[in-house]
Symmetry: C3
Subunit: 133 residues, 3 copies
């Protein structure tokens, strides 16, 4: 029951980032360690200068879905991640390969990101579920 | 081997809903307990008045893919979920946050949905894989 | 720590296929057995006559993202899967239901694919994470 929740976060739309943040907070609240690895479009969404901009939603949302999400007065997903880090042991790292592909350095990212690592290093700490979002 | 299969079902296109239903049925057939948590577009797809309508497929399908899926005479994913519940211990719950965001009540949902719960409650029952679709 | 990494590979865009290949290689490098099950658009991408063609990227990439991915001089994901099979115990199977839906036979697929199986058979070997990409 106290296994690590390992989350590979690949998607960069606000609906999936919000789902990821809520799962992270829920796992942390239940006493699980959470390791998040940011890849591709999720990494791009954690850039310091873009984290609060509109990242859109999944194409299947349609116009009705977009309006529902925008009308909803919930917290921003970055704030939910911030609270999850206060609640429990949550580490957010950038995938080295994606950092290189996007030409990013650590100072380009929001302070929520604790460091960077490769996928093999990520797997060293896997001792439970591996969830890809 | 008898761990729970915990499935966070987020996507609302017919191809992913079908994949989720088939994985649920396969896990149930192998004697696993299955807990499904419906979020966002998947929750919307389980509305009683929409469950049988066309929910489209992932954008990557292209025209050829759309036609292949439509031509295929398989069972509807809701029917596969129904059978999975007969085969094994399968529980389908709506995520409370998504219910609130979409302004839904339990009576708006198909009877396949057994109740609603928050993400922390969902994690209480996690003792194996956590799969996000 | 030596549990199987069970990967249901559903998506057929080059960015997700690359993420899947890198996770497979990372898991194999860390001594894990990896079982990949190809469904839908991922199965289509493993067709012998299509594996090296352009499979696009997730819609959220935008024009900037497409150019970043194309400019990146990394290995093709099929090559990363090939290397993962050399490093460790990696098995790639086609989902029988998707084979039938797409009207495919084993000889239509790239030699990276070791065989086909149903979802229930896939679950027999699940003894750790189940990741859906």
């Amino acid at each position: 029951m106290d296994e690590t929740f390992s989350l590979v976060l690949f998607s960069g739309t606000d609906d999936k980032l919000n789902a990821a943040a809520v799962l992270t907070a829920g796992a942390a609240a239940m006493g699980r360690k959470v390791n998040v690895l940011l890849q591709y479009w999720a990494l791009d969404a954690f850039r310091a200068d873009r984290i609060h901009k509109d990242h859109g939603v999944a194409p299947e949302a349609g116009q009705e879905g977009i309006e529902l999400v925008q009308r909803h007065n919930g917290q921003h997903w970055s704030e939910i991640f911030r609270q999850a880090k206060e609640i429990g042991e949550v580490t957010i790292r950038a995938c080295s390969l994606s950092m290189e592909m996007f030409g990013l350095r650590m100072e380009d990212l929001d302070p929520l990101v604790d460091g960077q690592e490769g996928v093999a290093a990520f797997f060293v700490d896997v001792d439970g579920p591996v969830t890809f979002i």
